[in-house]
């Protein structure tokens, strides 16, 4: 998958989790720029991404992520394995 394809899929997941069909997600999006991105929705996002892409994340991998772009970097790394 390309980086753009992943971003598009991730955007659909965000729209579903936040129940906001017009939500635009960019690589710079983070919990400061998306209003409802609280700790519980963060867990829901990670679970939804794991299920959609067949990935598993360790807590240590997630704590250092600063924005969506960092998440995509991590996903690309895992998908390449």
């Amino acid at each position: 998958m390309t980086r753009e394809e992943i971003l598009n899929s991730v955007q659909e997941i965000f729209r579903d989790v936040f129940d906001e069909e017009d939500l635009i997600v960019e690589e710079s999006s983070n919990s400061d720029t998306i209003e409802d991105w609280d700790s519980l929705n963060h867990i829901n996002l990670v679970s939804a991404i794991e299920m959609e892409f067949g990935l598993r994340f360790a807590l240590g991998e997630l704590t250092s992520l600063k924005d969506v772009g960092d998440m995509i970097d991590l996903m690309l790394k895992k998908l390449a394995k």
Binding site: L40, I43, N44, V46, S47, E50, M51, R56, F57, A58, L59, E61, L62
Partner: protein, 139 residues
């Protein structure tokens, strides 16, 4: 009360329990919620609308999803984090319900599990189904 810890839980783990809805439960739910919609309160009105009797509150039957996770799966160490419910059939007073939940997904990083749950009546008809997200606390 069950006390599954996160490490005890695996995909496919299933728990269930049985309960019967009665008028006392209906009255208590009315007292708590203030929902006096005639469909739930007046049998004659419900019958006029094509139901066999007054209809049990959907959120009363759904409260058993709380019991499912808080008492049975995982039980003691449960933190209910999300609930998505679909109602399929009406429930009436006197119905005996079986509430069943099965672990469908485990998020190892955040110790969250997803449970696919359903409620069957005494005729084995599904009256509702739910997807439940539950955090599992360390002891």
């Amino acid at each position: 009360m069950n006390d599954y810890r996160f490490s005890d839980i695996h995909v496919g783990l299933e728990e269930s329990f049985v309960t019967t809805v009665d008028d006392t439960m209906m009255q208590k739910f009315l007292d708590i919620s203030g929902d006096n919609n005639p469909l739930h309160v007046h049998a004659d009105y419900a019958k006029e609308k094509g139901f066999a009797d007054k209809v049990v509150y959907g959120l009363l039957t759904s409260s058993f999803y709380s019991t499912l996770v808080g008492v049975y799966l995982p039980g003691k160490y449960c933190l209910l984090q999300g609930l998505n419910i679909q109602f399929s059939k009406p429930v009436f007073c006197g119905d005996t319900l079986k509430i069943i939940g099965k672990v469908s997904y485990i998020n190892e990083a955040y110790k969250q599990i997803e449970i696919k749950a359903r409620i069957l009546n005494q005729k084995d008809q599904k009256v509702s189904r739910a997807t439940i997200k539950v955090g599992v606390m360390d002891e």
